[in-house]
């Protein structure tokens, strides 16, 4: 178990750093897609297959493809390299704080609850079902806004 977790953790860290540091954008996309799939594997290992499937469908199958289209529009050329010491310093400080926080909190845990699929569905319908409606209107607003920009973009005027 320890070996399994540490391999998974190293893959996640490596792909996350690679998604930010690499210069060829196609490899950035590959690293990003692998990162999202590994996170879905974490969800499966926590005992939520529905959440893992959702993550795979929306992120690895939706957001990664959207990023692919964006890369095809921008061009997968190489980019310049710029170093940034401040950002690396802040990130390392946050990381060390996070390690200390997770060691401090994570060593004593209660036994995991077994949440079945029906229970998730029942809690969702009982308590949270109405929030789908604002989500749908957000999507509708996005579609309208994108249509508005698209019609202006084609005309090439200010």
């Amino acid at each position: 178990m320890l070996l399994y977790f540490s391999i998974l953790y190293l893959i996640i860290i490596a792909t996350a750093i690679a998604a930010i540091e690499l210069t060829n954008l196609i490899w950035v996309l590959v690293a990003f897609a692998v990162l999202l799939t590994e996170i879905a594997l974490f969800y499966f290992s926590l005992g939520f297959p529905l959440l893992g499937a959702f993550q795979l469908a929306i992120y690895a199958g939706g957001v990664a493809i959207l990023v692919l289209f964006a890369i095809l529009t921008i061009g997968e050329r190489e980019e310049e390299k710029r170093e940034s010491k401040l950002a690396a310093g802040v990130a390392i400080a946050l990381f060390i704080t996070g390690v200390i926080a997770s060691i401090w909190t994570g060593l004593t845990t209660k036994p995991y609850l077994q949440i079945s699929l029906e229970e998730i569905g029942r809690v969702f319908v009982d308590k949270y079902a109405i929030l789908i409606i604002p989500l749908a209107f957000t999507a509708a607003g996005i579609v309208f806004g994108a249509y508005y920009i698209l019609s202006k973009k084609l005309n090439r005027e200010e």
Binding site: A140, I142, K152
Partner: protein, 476 residues
């Protein structure tokens, strides 16, 4: 939220969705589209007023209905209608105008939904419904300046969502539930270790909500975004969206996190002082009128934080609610007048405003009333709001905070009065005549906002009674 109020919200959202489609199907002209939108707003307003007393409560674990939310709904709804009218009048030369008005209406329904949120989940969904369409509103005119301000606003908003989820994770690990009342109970019975975790989660949530309110370490995006966007959209972002985000923050801090104890007062007081000072001092150096208003919106967020820092007093909630209600009217009205100035007269800076009172006395009078209310001069609503806020600070034992707040108000009066002086006491120097006289209707609408500002500066009863009824519901 009752069924009736929710149906009003759905009516607004569906109106924003269907009116462009109907306009395209029947090839309606732009005046008919505006009439349809006004009809949608009218029916939604009637539903909101009808939902005051009657209506079956809907999902009480997610939404609540109390007096403050109903009051602010009316303010936000009315100001939203005025902003819609002005966006229509100043963006007439743009094609596909019905779609951008539809996006605005959907975003406004999200702003009204945040006023009722009782649960961290519904607050997240409502905040996202408010801000995600507003990323597109900034792009109503597509040039490099609006693209830059839209990009900055997008990154700040997306980072705010990430921090919100982080803070939510920590709160969830202590409390086990997302409702504000359940978090209240869990925090009251938490041990010392739980309180340390809560401190981290609170800092993350403060960062997320501070992005929306443009509080001091997170205010850097605000002047660029409010200046780069078209000024009528800046009226929505800086006026309505900020106040609509302030009300659930009251619920979060007072109901869920129990700020009545003295723990967080010093941190919030320091943030309030920094925010007010940064906003006011930087506004003194600006020439562009829109940029002055953008920095003053940062300063007003500082005044709001004074109310949060003074949480130990019973008047603090009244001060915050009054400031939020007055701020919607004042700031949206001021930005809308700036829109009319830019669109009809081409006036952008303070020097170009010279002698404007002789060119268009009615618009100058409306602008003067709104600026005086922003400065906090009696008998306007801004003055009453500042009275309550600083009185609450003194009651909570932080007289130094009230003193610094009064000093900042004095700084603010300087730059507001400078604009008024330029308008009234100077001679006009080649202000071009407007192209058509269609500015009368938007000016009259903003004049209604200014009249409401004076009205609520004299008739303080409804807002005070509503917020006192709300204060009794909070576990003090």
């Amino acid at each position: 939220m009752n069924c009736v109020i929710f149906s009003g919200l759905l009516f607004l959202s569906f109106g924003g969705l269907l009116v462009p489609i109907i306009g395209n199907l029947f090839k309606l002209s732009k005046e008919w589209i505006l009439n349809l939108y006004m009809l949608v707003f009218l029916i939604a307003g009637l539903l909101f007023v009808y939902g005051f007393g009657n209506g079956h409560p809907l999902f009480p674990n997610l939404f609540t209905t109390d007096t403050v939310s109903l009051l602010m709904t009316l303010f936000v709804w009315f100001t939203g209608a005025v902003v819609l009218l002005t966006i229509y009048n100043t963006l007439k030369d743009v094609e596909n105008l019905p779609e951008i008005l539809g996006v605005f209406t959907i975003s406004l329904s999200g702003a009204i939904m945040t006023l009722y949120a009782n649960n961290f989940v519904s607050l997240l969904v409502a905040l996202e419904l408010m801000t995600i369409p507003s990323y597109y509103l900034i792009l109503a005119r597509l040039n490099i300046i609006t693209l830059e301000s839209a990009t900055k606003y997008f990154f700040n908003g997306a980072l705010a969502t990430g921090f919100y989820l982080l803070g939510l994770m920590v709160i969830y690990s202590i409390a086990g539930s997302f409702e504000f009342s359940a978090v209240n109970k869990a925090l009251a019975s938490a041990d010392h270790l739980g309180l340390i975790y809560f401190a981290f989660g609170f800092i993350a949530l403060l960062a997320a909500l501070g992005f929306k309110l443009s509080i001091a370490p997170f205010h850097f995006y605000a002047p660029d975004v409010y200046t780069g966007a078209p000024a009528s959209v800046a009226a929505y972002l800086a006026g309505i969206a900020k106040s609509a985000a302030a009300i659930p923050i009251i619920r979060v801090f007072f109901e869920a996190f129990q700020f009545q104890k003295e723990d967080w007062a010093i941190l919030l007081a320091i943030l309030a002082v920094v925010t007010m000072t940064v906003g006011n001092l930087l506004a003194l150096a600006q020439q562009n009128v829109a940029r002055i208003l953008a920095y003053s919106s940062v300063a007003h967020a500082g005044y709001l934080l004074v109310g949060f820092a003074a949480a130990a007093s019973g008047l603090a909630v009244t001060g915050i609610v009054y400031q939020a209600a007055a701020y919607v009217l004042m700031k949206a009205g001021a930005f809308l007048i700036v829109t009319l100035l830019i669109y009809y007269y081409g006036i952008k800076t303070r020097e170009q405003l010279r002698g404007f009172a002789k060119v268009n006395p009615f618009m100058a009078l409306v602008f003067t009333i709104l600026l005086l209310s922003l400065a906090g001069v009696p008998p306007t609503a801004g003055f009453i709001a500042k009275v309550y806020l600083f009185q609450a600070a003194v009651d909570a034992g932080m007289a130094w905070l009230a003193f610094i707040g009064l000093l900042n108000s004095a700084f603010a009066v300087a730059y507001y009065l400078w604009i008024i002086k330029e308008m009234y006491l100077e001679e006009p120097s080649n202000i071009s005549k407007p192209a058509d006289t269609s500015f009368v209707i938007p000016t009259a609408a903003v004049g209604l906002l200014a009249a409401l500002t004076i009205l609520f500066g004299i008739w303080v009863t409804p807002i005070v009674k509503a917020s006192l009824a709300f204060t009794q519901l909070l576990p003090f």
